[in-house]
């Protein structure tokens, strides 16, 4: 049976993991992702893994940033770091893609 097409959320929707992606936490807090359709692997450092955990379709980018900032209060670049992680995840198609504007 073919894989179901992912549901595409609106552009401002909270980031959500592609349900076809499996994740596995590693011993040092990093994480490995595997997209079962594209068969691509991706690794995340512990900070990126934390971002990934919040990509549940409920937390907005601002809320994710706030959660990560709470864990790493001394880091001044959290907003940029979170944005970078989300961009990487989108580029590797690990997140459900927002619908293109019509």
């Amino acid at each position: 049976m073919p894989d179901p097409e992912p549901v595409t959320p609106p552009p401002d929707a909270p980031p959500a993991r592609d349900p076809r992606v499996l994740d596995e936490l590693l011993a040092d807090g990093s994480m490995v992702l595997y997209h079962t359709a594209s068969r691509k692997l991706m690794t995340l450092n512990p900070t990126a893994a934390l971002v990934w955990e919040y990509c549940d379709g409920e937390h907005t980018i601002e809320q994710i940033t706030s959660e990560v900032r709470a864990v790493f209060p001394a880091v001044s670049t959290i907003a940029d770091d979170v944005a970078g992680v989300l961009n990487d995840l989108r580029a590797r198609e690990m997140l459900r893609l927002p619908q293109a504007p019509s």
Binding site: E24, M31, R39
Partner: protein, 286 residues
């Protein structure tokens, strides 16, 4: 339809391969001797074993060979060597298709000389993993497998898979130059194959993963990989990731938590083998 009927034929080679019973009908006596030789590491089974998979390697009217899997002719070969390769390929492919409870990796697995741990040597063909494995065998290591690693996801112990090694002339020359070269001459084994005299059979968890990267270093060097890189490296050699992704990811995570993964920059073979043997002994002692 092939005339393979292994329950009643005396010209079938029967072996237990992994968890499965296999029968290969080979009518020609000399061909059968070759099949007996390359499958000689696997345990013999009796006639009519339950769950037997049936194959046949037969000569055809044109002077070549044809290979049958069940009732289907799947390969034609002009030489016996190619027919034997077709047999090995089909047997291994069928085994892996029916083995969904093991983490499959491409590479060699060996028990250390003390019999207390196992190490994996992962790599694509041509990178030198068989050469490294043979060099370690010459230093007292015992093989679980040279090509098809099947890891228990709970114990992280490799299964014994007694497939004959494929050894090209270059590898054989290299290994023959070692102080303790393995015994090559096994009666009936065709050229290009090496059948170890003994195999590791006890369940030994993996304690190190070695990935050969190069063979031209002045002296051997092991470089430890960060855990995330180790995980993706290991998964890159997995044959089960596509059909059993959750099991493969989980097992790779457990493996990287308990066994360091090293890139091997190999130098000349003898000092590289000694270096690796000492490194593994250090893991055991540590």
């Amino acid at each position: 339809m092939t005339d393979a009927s292994p329950d009643t034929r005396a010209d079938a080679v029967r072996r237990r391969i992994g968890p499965h019973d296999v029968a290969v009908v080979v009518p020609d006596r000399s061909d059968r001797a070759a099949v007996e030789a390359i499958l000689g590491g696997f345990p013999r089974i009796g006639e009519g074993a339950a769950g037997e998979a049936t194959y046949a390697l037969r000569r055809d009217a044109a002077g070549g060979w044809e290979f049958w899997s069940g009732g289907t002719r799947t390969h034609q070969a002009t030489t016996l060597e190619d027919g034997l390769l077709a047999l090995e390929w089909q047997v291994v492919t069928d085994l892996l298709a029916r083995t969904d409870d093991r983490f499959h990796l491409h590479g060699a697995a060996l028990a250390d000389p003390s019999g207390s741990l196992s190490v994996l040597v992962l790599g694509e063909s041509g990178v030198g993993k068989t050469t490294v494995a043979l060099a370690l065998i010459a230093r007292g290591f015992r093989p679980f497998t040279d090509d098809v690693i099947l890891l228990d996801p709970e114990s992280l112990a490799p299964s014994t898979f007694e497939r004959a090694f494929h050894v090209d002339a270059t590898t054989r020359t290299l290994v023959n130059g070692l102080p303790h070269d393995p015994a090559w001459e096994v009666p009936g084994v065709p050229g290009g194959y090496f059948l170890p005299a003994t195999w590791a059979r006890e369940p030994l968890p993996v304690r190190a993963v070695i990935v050969p990267k190069a063979r031209d270093h002045a002296r051997p060097l092991l470089v430890g990989l960060p855990i995330a890189e180790a995980a993706t490296t290991i998964l890159g050699f997995s044959g089960s990731l596509e059909h059993a992704p959750a099991l493969s990811l989980r097992t790779a995570a457990r493996l990287t938590a308990s066994a360091p993964c090293y890139a091997l920059y190999a130098g000349p073979l003898a000092p590289t083998a000694q270096f690796l043997a000492e490194a593994v002994e250090g893991l055991r002692a540590g």
